[in-house]
């Protein structure tokens, strides 16, 4: 399933809060972002049948942030994505035991529309927010609600808590034709707590802990054989460090995340960004990210059709053990309230990069390019 829950993108709004919870925005902000995501084709020697052409997603995202009166603000996000490409249906063992893929034949086309609205109330040293969101695709519908609160304590730290819930309906296309499940449901509940601490006049640290619980249909309905548990719990702990280096007139961002879930996957994510001020108007930010995950307990190098359908198994590359590196750069130009942002990132993944990799490199492991262009206006 390529489906994306809007919950995450929407609740990111809570993250964009300033270090202090009790500070409402003072200006209106309108932003538009266009991005293009393009996966490299799969090597033809790994494809038994179907198309080697993979996913391409074009996204347009509009955002409006505005203060309302003296103690409120609202944020509206809408986005639309157009996707096309082929996706893996199954994995088979070739003559040399190397896994090969069966890809979907024709190019799949789909469109996703997402809308999110959030309202935040600001007290002297606290803020409380509610976010409502929906996401709509031909085969996937999702509704979500998020609640968040933040408290400034002793002027040096902020405590944040959050809860979110989403209710999703899955209706795979061509379900009857291919014997896929016709209708399924999924519910997600997530709880989080965070602490942001000012260390000194030049640095701060965020620590966060998130627990997520998923129930319902968690398998991939488009694969020939894919059976996963109908419950999953996830833990994620993260640290974000920000330090300003006066001599370089630049800020260094370091993030680390430790993740662990009920499927048996654990992962490490590290990323670093360097925000270099070139002049009052120009800013350049190179960035690098390293990701590594172990495989799920029920991951198989190749689908095993001899097992009963009730036994958990999946050959999804996203459940294999592997590692990935992203390197990118973003340039910002600012002029009297206007801001232009251009970014390019390259992602490569391979099982040799991982800390606890699967035996074989999955042929569907991704490489992609992500390009984005944004314009923002503050007034």
């Amino acid at each position: 399933m390529k489906k994306i829950d809007p919950l995450l993108a929407l609740t990111t709004a809570a993250l964009s809060l300033p270090v202090f919870a009790g500070n409402p925005p003072t200006e209106k902000e309108i932003s538009l972002r266009a991005s293009s995501y393009k996966e490299d084709d799969i090597s033809k020697t790994s494809v038994l049948s179907g198309s080697p052409e993979r996913y391409k997603i074009d996204k347009t995202h509009f955002r409006l942030l505005t203060p309302i009166g003296s103690n409120w603000s609202t944020e509206i996000n809408t986005s639309q994505e157009v996707m096309s490409g082929a996706s893996p249906w199954g994995t088979f063992s070739g003559s040399d035991e190397q896994p090969s893929l069966i890809m979907s034949g024709a190019t799949i086309k789909d469109k996703r529309t997402e809308v999110g609205v959030s309202i935040t109330n600001y007290q002297d040293n606290a803020s409380y927010g509610v976010t409502l969101g929906t996401s709509h695709e031909d085969d996937y519908k999702s509704r979500s609600i998020g609640l968040s609160a933040g408290w400034d304590l002793n002027n040096m730290s902020t405590l944040g808590i959050g809860f979110s819930f989403s209710d999703d309906d899955i209706e795979p296309t061509d379900a009857k034709k291919f014997g896929r499940i016709q209708q399924a449901k999924k519910q997600t509940r997530s709880f989080s707590v965070s602490w942001t601490q000012i260390i000194n006049a030049n640095s701060l640290l965020f620590s966060g802990l998130t627990y997520t619980n998923k129930e319902g249909f968690l398998s991939d309905p488009y694969k020939l054989r894919d059976t996963r548990p109908d419950k999953k719990s996830e833990w994620a702990a993260s640290l974000k460090y920000r330090i300003f280096i006066d001599s370089k007139n630049a800020a260094l961002h370091l993030n680390y995340r430790l993740y662990n879930d009920g499927f048996g996957i654990n992962s490490h994510t590290v990323n670093a960004e360097w925000h270099q001020n070139i002049s009052l108007r120009w800013k350049i930010s190179p960035r690098i990210r390293y990701y590594s995950q172990s495989q799920a307990d029920f991951y198989l190098d190749a689908d095993d059709f001899s097992l009963p359908k009730t036994v958990n198994q999946s050959s999804d590359h996203r459940l294999s053990g592997y590692g990935a590196i992203t390197a990118g750069i973003q340039a910002n130009y600012e002029l009297s309230g206007w801001k232009i942002k251009v970014g390019f990132d390259r992602y490569i993944s391979d099982n040799h990069y991982g800390h606890d990799s699967s035996r074989y490199s999955h042929p569907a492991l991704l490489d992609f390019n992500l390009t984005s262009l944004g314009i923002e206006y503050k007034f």
Binding site: G146, S192, N202, L239, F368
Partner: protein
């Protein structure tokens, strides 16, 4: 997860012990846009969405939790 909690707790303690009180008038650097937790909310949303749907891990990077519809 006990190990994880211990780790976080130790980090928190170290950080808190090592903090200096920063006067309200000394916060020019902390107020800079490049020193915020998120310098580009729309960019973050884009990346989180991509990684969420293309990798197995989710969550932890934000204040109010999130979910995943991908696997």
């Amino acid at each position: 997860m006990n190990y994880l909690k211990q780790l976080i707790l130790s980090c928190a303690t170290v950080v808190v012990m090592g903090c200096e009180t920063v006067a309200p008038w000394d916060r020019e650097v902390l107020a800079r846009p490049e020193m915020q937790l998120s310098t580009d909310p729309m960019g973050d949303a884009l990346f989180e969405q991509v990684y969420l749907s293309k990798e197995a891990s989710a969550g932890g990077y934000k204040t109010a939790g999130g979910g995943c519809g991908c696997n």
